[in-house]
């Protein structure tokens, strides 16, 4: 969109927009260094204390919540990734009846508001007399992650040249061998991306967890509960640490991919 105001309008806007997006993150990060007591609202002074002593006895609750979130995320990710990958392969490669219904059933969890998902599962557990625990949380998280895994892996499977697997069969590979040595290695990047996405969704989930967790606290739930009283700076520390970790991984992946492509282009 060329506006005669100059070609700088769009880049400047974009820069400002991106800065705007970063504001709360920077705020959270800064306040992780706040020498706060119970509530982390007013700035009292700079300290590295919170970073160095994240998990003390007094702050056990935060760390426990964080630990719970990690465990739940890991388990739910494994289940969702396995189930979702299987579905994705079936959808792209095979003919079967009720394809429309399958697509719809996979799409709906992504379109349903979290309140409805959470309330529904909670009502179900209630009706069955199942007490809420880590297990119910994991079951819930697996459920809404499957669809996202399917979308991600499906894209990867679609871009896989079927001739490669045919070559594998032509070159004396039994079906198992073709899957292990040709199909799976080529799908792996997509599966990893799906697993990462699934973990991120599970880790950050609050609403569904809130309905289905009973007394178990996850990291987001802890934040919600303590929002009224005051969130300790340790929560900021953990959140910032997670943020930096995730950012480093993603940026490294992008940079190395760009470097590799540049190297290949030069070679040819």
């Amino acid at each position: 969109m060329k506006i005669s105001l100059g070609k700088w309008l769009l880049p400047v806007y974009s820069a400002l927009a991106l800065i705007f997006l970063m504001v709360p993150i920077v705020y959270t990060f800064i306040f992780s260094f706040n020498d706060s007591l119970k509530s982390n609202v007013a700035w009292r002074g700079f300290t590295l204390d919170k970073w160095l002593n994240v998990c003390t006895v007094q702050n056990g609750a935060v760390c426990q919540a964080f630990g719970n979130s990690l465990v739940i995320g890991a388990v739910a990710t494994v289940f969702a990734t396995v189930l979702g990958t299987m579905i994705a392969i079936a959808i792209v490669r095979y003919r079967f009846r009720f394809r429309t219904q399958t697509n719809l059933l996979l799409f709906l969890p992504m379109a349903t508001p979290e309140v409805v998902l959470g309330a529904g599962l909670a009502a179900q557990f209630l009706a069955l007399g199942v007490p809420k625990s880590m297990t119910t949380i994991i079951l819930a998280h697996t459920m809404f992650c499957i669809s996202f895994v399917v979308v991600t892996v499906k894209a990867r499977v679609s871009s896989l040249d079927p001739a490669l697997e045919e070559a594998g069969r032509d070159l004396y590979g039994s079906p198992t061998q073709v899957f292990l040595r040709v199909t799976f290695p080529l799908l792996l990047p997509g599966i990893l991306a799906a697993a990462l996405l699934s973990f991120a969704l599970s880790f950050d989930d609050f609403i569904i967890t809130n309905f289905n967790s009973g007394s178990v606290t996850t990291f987001p739930k802890y934040i919600y509960i303590s929002a009224a009283r005051g969130i300790p700076a340790e929560a900021n520390v953990i959140a910032s640490a997670v943020f930096i970790f995730a950012l480093v991984i993603v940026v490294t992946a992008q940079v190395s991919k760009a470097a590799r492509e540049k190297r290949l282009a030069r070679q040819n």
Partner: protein, 399 residues
């Protein structure tokens, strides 16, 4: 043929009564084919004729609806691809992107648990002169190099039968010519049976010992390239391999050696040995390069057929030769290829010319003319434009 050992030489391939139906259409109607061991066989045809399907049936990547496939006398119809002594060079090469070139070539050997796969893989790469790139990834290679790796990957397994699915399609002209010669040399050296599928008739004729022309799921004609070209059996073959001038008429005379046909008033003669049908309505033809163009009425020669006078409608220069379109009343438009022995065309547009050819160069088709079109309708834009121009000029002249 045990999979654990290498084939000593190529094996026969036999397809018996093959039919392949897909939901919605039939790819192969009724195919019977025998390919002798050690030969270079080309399956030639336009897109959708069923040649790639045939290849995939032999490889085991598809199952025939009915029929049997025998390799070296053994029925392999029910065998899976990894059980057959057959390897394929795919059109897209299908090199595994996540493995090195060496690993790609060694893949089949490892699956069959052949001893010392690495050494054998290097040997195969040396055969295609790419051993120095053994540790590269496929994506780092050029198209021609990838093609050669695909070939090495298939050859290293010493299959009884090697299938090539239009492997040279993605290469530029010069590289393609080079690879055609290389493939032929390798085949003769190693002595394997090659089945090459292509739509490029020049490629088929250059490389193959035997060519089969396929159309709509059936083989129209099979034989040595030269025989197919000089003695086509059907109008499809006559027009798919090179170009032909075809004429339809009724037989008006028979001698022991030749048949006379009446084409719109002109009498044309065709040797009996070169005609499939000897009575009734038949279609005869002659190749454009066998025709001579005359600017004056030539003397009558009993050994030559003569058409004319006609008018040159179009002259098209293409380096080695010039193509003339000559309109002869009652016979349609005739295509003449003349080698450019001197500079400049023999006749210009609008000139009055005669066309003649040696009787022995004509051929008679096996088609029933009632099925085949009477005159080959020339629908390429060039001749349509030429005719139109001619019509306009005539119109203007009449005003």
């Amino acid at each position: 043929m045990a999979i654990g050992t290498f084939a000593e030489s190529g094996a026969d391939l036999e397809l018996v009564g093959i039919q392949k139906r897909f939901p919605g259409f039939t790819a192969i109607e009724n195919l019977d084919l025998t390919i002798p061991a050690g030969s270079f066989f080309a399956l030639l045809g336009p897109s959708g004729c069923g040649k790639t399907t045939t290849l995939r049936l032999v490889a085991g990547l598809e199952d025939p609806t009915t029929g049997r496939i025998l390799i070296g006398g053994q029925d392999v119809t029910s065998q899976k691809p990894y059980q057959r002594p057959v390897n394929t060079v795919f059109q897209s090469y299908a090199l595994f992107p996540h493995m090195t070139v060496l690993e790609n070539v060694a893949f089949g050997l490892r699956r069959r648990k052949i001893g010392d796969p690495v050494a054998k893989a290097h040997e195969a790469l040396r055969l295609v002169e790419l051993d120095h790139l053994a540790s590269r990834r496929p994506i780092q290679l050029s198209g021609g190099q990838q093609q050669r790796v695909a070939l090495a990957r298939a050859l290293v397994n010493r299959p009884a039968l090697l299938l090539l699915d239009e492997p040279l399609g993605a290469l530029d002209l010069k590289l393609r010519r080079q690879m055609q010669l290389e493939l032929k040399t390798i085949q003769e050296e190693v002595g394997l049976t090659f089945l090459h599928v292509t739509h490029d008739q020049e490629e088929a004729m250059t490389m193959a010992d035997t060519v089969a022309v396929m159309n709509k799921g059936q083989i129209e004609q099979m034989g040595p390239p030269q025989q197919l070209y000089e003695l086509p059996k059907t109008a499809f073959v006559a027009n798919f391999l090179g170009q032909s001038n075809l004429f339809t008429g009724s037989v008006v005379g028979n001698t022991s050696t030749s048949i006379a046909v009446d084409i719109a008033g002109t009498r044309m003669v065709v040797p009996t040995s070169r005609a499939h049908r000897h009575a009734g309505e038949i279609t005869i033809g002659v190749r454009p390069e066998k025709l001579s163009l005359h600017t004056e009425a030539p003397p009558v020669d009993s050994g030559r057929n003569l058409l004319g006078p006609g008018r040159v409608v179009d002259v098209s220069f293409s380096g080695v030769s010039t193509q003339y379109l000559v309109d002869v009343p009652g016979c349609g438009t005739i295509v003449v290829f003349a080698q450019n022995m001197a500079f400049g065309p023999v006749a210009h547009e609008g000139a009055e010319v005669w066309v003649s050819w040696n009787i022995d160069h004509g051929f008679g088709l096996d088609d029933d003319p009632a099925d085949a079109p009477r005159f080959e309708a020339d629908t390429d834009t060039q001749s349509i434009a030429a005719h139109r121009r001619d019509a306009l000029l005539t119109e203007l002249e009449e005003v």
